[in-house]
Symmetry: C2
Subunit: 223 residues, 2 copies
DNA sequence: CACTGTGAATGCATTCACAGCG
DNA sequence: CGCTGTGAATGCATTCACAGTG
């Protein structure tokens, strides 16, 4: 039966395996749409977004198509609507996510104060440190608690995401405590791979590693 | 001419298009090898590395094979030798990279103090801020200078990599000044896409975006 | 007409599977 | 043997190219 199979015309928009790189780009689109919205622009084309983000227009359309159909033929995408839809897809629409910080050192303190988190719907509710000298200190409306209390505090404050900014050697222990406390995801700044149950999502940001990926390219092609 | 083209049998080990994801993994291997070295382990197999880093053994071997042949059949890789070789590939062997920081706010100060940078061969030589109140302040052996002096300071200190920790609206301007000063790469913490000449490598780390990629997964499958 | 949404084609990255070596 | 190094196979992600739509 070598006939051309009839189009299944399935009620797509359901579930396709969304590439991880696409998820990252959703945030880019959101940022750009937010700016357009502030500037009062009402419609934007995939071509325009692509140009401003260093992508191809096909890529933009493909990325969005994983989640449904938002565009209007001949006009493009309605800025406000798409922006709101992306916020909802990324889970940052109409809610706040609770964070717990472990490690109130230089980096930890900076994260507590980071405006970008608050602006985008993330709020620290808990901060702990192993150094007794820091306990009781108030930073950004949060009182630093003892590291030993991390599991209980995590649970009692309904923490969604744990943020780890402790030395490498202490990170795995802290990770375990956060998992005990019921976090569903962890953002880790310690330079180690963390072991966690697979229903807990872990993302590691190793700052020195970011620099190493730059130097790799610098020592190769001088261009 | 539907013949099978003859194998070119090129003198490999030269240049193959190294996947960007592989570059990231080289840093992981380095970290792991460093630990093994401290523990006095002399040989390690691709299997062992893979297990500890959440990869497959084939992946490890393939990654390393982009840069030559380091292993011994039946024994694995000599820890010290491979570690040193990776340091050299990533450009962090026997040299220090000079950094300039723009933006001495919470995040900027934390980066200046970040031990991980120093340990892995990165050293801040210059720090500037737009706030006159901060100029002259000393942080970690560095005196904060006026933002206006960024291009000259970048050049006079032979800065290799610029680090941007200023608000989004100021980032593009700072980027341009760093390029003027002759940096070859930029690590950007401002939540904007930077425009730079293509011979200047830019890497952006948007902290809130890291959280968004976590929440995306949290709001979808509960698992 | 300008633009979206998407099958099909292409191009990368990962994995398989095994020849070859110490 | 055990383990590397690597062609070939597979599996993903991106791009092409165009039918379809307001």
């Amino acid at each position: 039966m070598p006939e051309i199979a009839r189009k299944p015309r399935l009620a797509q928009s359901a579930s396709r395996p969304v590439p991880e790189a696409c998820v990252t780009r959703l945030s880019w689109y959101m940022r750009e749409l937010h700016l357009l919205q502030l500037r009062g622009v009402r419609f934007v084309s995939s071509r325009w977004l692509a140009k401003h983000l260093g992508l191809t227009d096909a890529q933009v359309r493909r990325d969005l198509s994983y989640f449904g159909q938002f565009g209007t033929s001949g006009r493009g995408y309605e800025v406000i609507r798409l922006h709101e839809r992306l916020r909802s897809i990324l889970g940052v629409s109409g809610r706040t996510w609770n964070l717990a910080l472990a490690g109130v050192g230089n980096l930890g303190s900076a994260l507590l104060a980071h405006e970008g988190f608050r602006e985008r719907g993330f709020r620290f509710r808990v901060a702990v440190d192993a150094d007794p000298g820091k306990i009781g200190e108030r930073i950004q409306e949060i009182t630093v608690a003892s590291a030993a209390r991390l599991p209980q505090l995590t649970r009692s404050h309904s923490i969604d995401i744990g943020v780890i900014a402790v030395p490498a050697l202490a990170a795995q222990k802290v990770c375990k405590q956060m998992v005990q406390g019921g976090v569903r995801a962890i953002l880790n700044f310690a330079p180690v791979r963390l072991e966690a149950p697979e229903n807990v999502r872990v993302r590691t940001v190793d700052l020195a590693m970011e620099l190493e990926s730059l130097t790799f390219h610098l020592v190769r092609g001088a261009g």
